[in-house]
Amino acid sequence: MSFEMILPKEKYDVAIVGSGAGGGMAAKVLSEAGLSVAVLEAGGFYDPMQEEFRTQLRWPWESPRRGANTVRPFGDFDAAWGGWEIEGEPYLRNPGTSFDWFRSRMLGGRTNHWGRISLRFGPKDFKRKSIDGLGEDWPIGYEDVKPYYDRVDKLVGVFGTNEGLEDDPDGYFLPPPKPRLHELYIKRAAEGVGVPVIPSRLSVLTRRVNDERGACFYCNQCNRACNVYADFSSGTCLVQPAMKRGNVDLFTNAMVREVMTDSNGLATGVVYINTKNLQEHRIQARVVVLGASACETARLLLNSKSAAHPDGLANGSGVVGRYLHDSTGSDRMAILPALFNRERYNEDGVGGMHVYTPWWLDNNRMDFPRGYHLEYWGGMSMPLYGTGFGMDSMRQHISDQFGNPSPNGGYGAGLKRDIRTLYGSTVGISGRGECIARYDNYCEIDPNVVDKYGIPVLRFNYTWSEHELKQAQHMHETFEEILTAMGGILVGEKPGADREYGLHAPGRIIHEVGTTRMGDDPSTSVLNQYAQAHECKNLFVVDAGSFVSQADKNPTWTIMALSWRTSDYIVEQMSQGNL
């Protein structure tokens, strides 16, 4: 299949930039409403059902690097093309600040390899300023988004359970898989110290949701993208089905460099560069929808200057690129001696955790304002590059049948046996929390540097505040409490203030949001509540740029719900002749 040779229509109803969660959903909804849609994707065509792309069900020895991450940042079998650094597409950081930017250049973007954790924002998540005075409230509430979350649940599929939790709302869930052994240990220990553990919520099909997608066959490899479409990715579940039904032209290897506007400042389409032959092309459209990812969309707007938009498109407020925020993240690991020499059986399960902990404490009693959730990992997963590492420090925890501890390091048949003893006995916890959106965390256009397509690149400026640092400190108290309660031997030291309590660099959790935030006041926001630009009525944003705050939830489900809501609004406005 080649989608590069498409002859573009003279004019489309809608041009969508980006084929990830937001762009994919917009393509589906808008095309099904009868509109003609062009989707522009900077990367290549990708479909995990086709043998040439398949990394699923591969064995470690099929990779000469045994799955190491020297080429693909999350390992050789991971589905994502691209990564933290892309050749010829640099970005910069201001001195004393940090931000790592993960980009995936392919149909479906980063939805091909994500963790499939699919959490609704709750009522409080839209109104945090009203609760703690920090950041800003959204111009909409949970009740505005709920109908769309419901539709996304049913269309895309997510397993989980209805627990009646106020800020982790119920949904249309598929039945969850049973916990694995280490997850039962975690559940017992965590609940013993007052930390609730419930079935996780992942967009993996434990039951089928339609005739086009299979059911999960439990290989634990969702990050490799699923051959039967039993997990969600935008290419397989949104863009390709929309193309089959018609009205959608997909342009791959199409790097959009500018949104075109007319003398009135209205969008007329986009200019893109074919990354294969470096020729420039134009797509004319009545409406332009940006779903390029929060930072790429901000970059595109800032690079789209005109007489009507001298500071960049829709940027009269100066807010484009501002309020950039990623989830906080920190982790800890332990060895669980109760699992030494454990019984062997296939416990692959789904690709990710079967249980998790939503935020469970009251911030009024904390010294930090926002919550975090806990993700759990462990088990007898496929041996890959890294299996058998670290025996110079971990071997001491293993004893022989007479109770004599092994020495650290060593060699020989005893070492070989001890690695087998240790296999499947490590467990870990990751905290993922909410960062407060701040004006001072931003991306902007660097005045000196262009990428290989001649497009000015981004420069980032991001620091953690004491809110995030205190939250991470608290995470580590929780990690130790749970891991110790289950009889685990903690690995490594608890990170202190000197290591920012183990916080990953901003961007590392790949939940960046907020760069084109929505609001009722055009002087402090870029978009209105329908993600329509205040200053350009036929321009919309359907990626996480529109987020006012990010909650301690993974953003994908909210991206799709909001994209659907925006798409409905576009259809309605077009039918009323307003666009």
Binding site: R58, L184, R207, V228
Partner: protein
């Protein structure tokens, strides 16, 4: 289904292999398609630039013959054959390490330097390089660097080198087919996860509570298109 039908489904790309795996075919169908999946030699899902990169690395040689010989000796000291399985070199761990030197260039200097450090030590102690030493001479030196907690401070270079070599040899072995079998990994095949086996649960003094049993997916429901009642519960 015959083999041709399997292959047609697998390779046509129109219908994915797993879709029919996951849509209720027989155990025999499943086993056959797994075999066909494994036997296919169509790379392993590489993009063009990745295939070129790997080909280039494989065409280059890093270790000298003597270095590679030392790596092989060290590899079989670290992971020897025993009565349950073969050794590191039996599964080509030295080739894997050769590849990793090129794949991850920071390995190069520390590994080459570490091998030379080993030779220097042998020359000083025994008057000959590592490969010319007897097995007991080699082990005499290895014992000085293999145990980080009791190694002398001036052996630290060797300790660091041997730690890295232990990591690479172990991971090379345990990610080979023989190593995966030795570890007893049972997965990477289509199936249904129905929870921890009852006997294992008993051994660990754990059980599934009734709520978990009630709400979890049942194997017979997996191909039924999902529906919900008015209270958002699956039916």
């Amino acid at each position: 289904m015959d083999r041709r039908e399997h292959l047609k489904l697998l390779l046509a790309g129109g219908v994915g292999a797993g879709l029919f795996l996951a849509s209720g075919c027989s155990e025999e169908d499943r086993r056959q398609s797994e075999e066909i999946l494994r036997a296919s030699d169509l790379s392993y899902g590489r993009a063009d630039y990745e295939m070129e990169h790997d080909k280039r690395l494989l065409s280059e040689t890093f270790f000298t013959e003597a270095e590679l010989e030392m790596v092989k000796v060290l590899a079989d000291i670290i992971i020897p054959a025993d009565d349950e399985s073969g050794s590191a070199t039996d599964v080509g761990v030295h080739d894997f390490i050769e590849f990793m030197m090129k794949d991850s260039p920071p390995f190069q200097l520390v590994t080459r330097g570490g091998l030379m450090w080993l030779n220097n030590q042998c020359n000083t102690r025994f008057g000959k390089p590592f490969l010319d030493c007897s097995e007991s001479e080699r082990l005499e030196l290895i014992d000085l660097i293999a145990y980080p907690d009791r190694a002398a401070p001036d052996m630290l270079y060797g300790v660091r080198f041997f730690n890295r070599m232990r990591d690479l040899v172990a991971t090379g072995f345990f990610t080979s087919r023989m190593g995966v079998d030795y570890l007893g990994y049972q997965g990477n095949r289509p199936g249904f996860w129905d929870g921890v086996p009852a006997e294992v649960l008993r051994n660990h003094g754990l059980e599934y509570d009734q709520k978990t049993l009630d709400e979890s997916i049942k194997e017979e429901d997996r191909y039924r298109i999902a529906e919900w009642d008015d209270n958002m519960n699956p039916i």
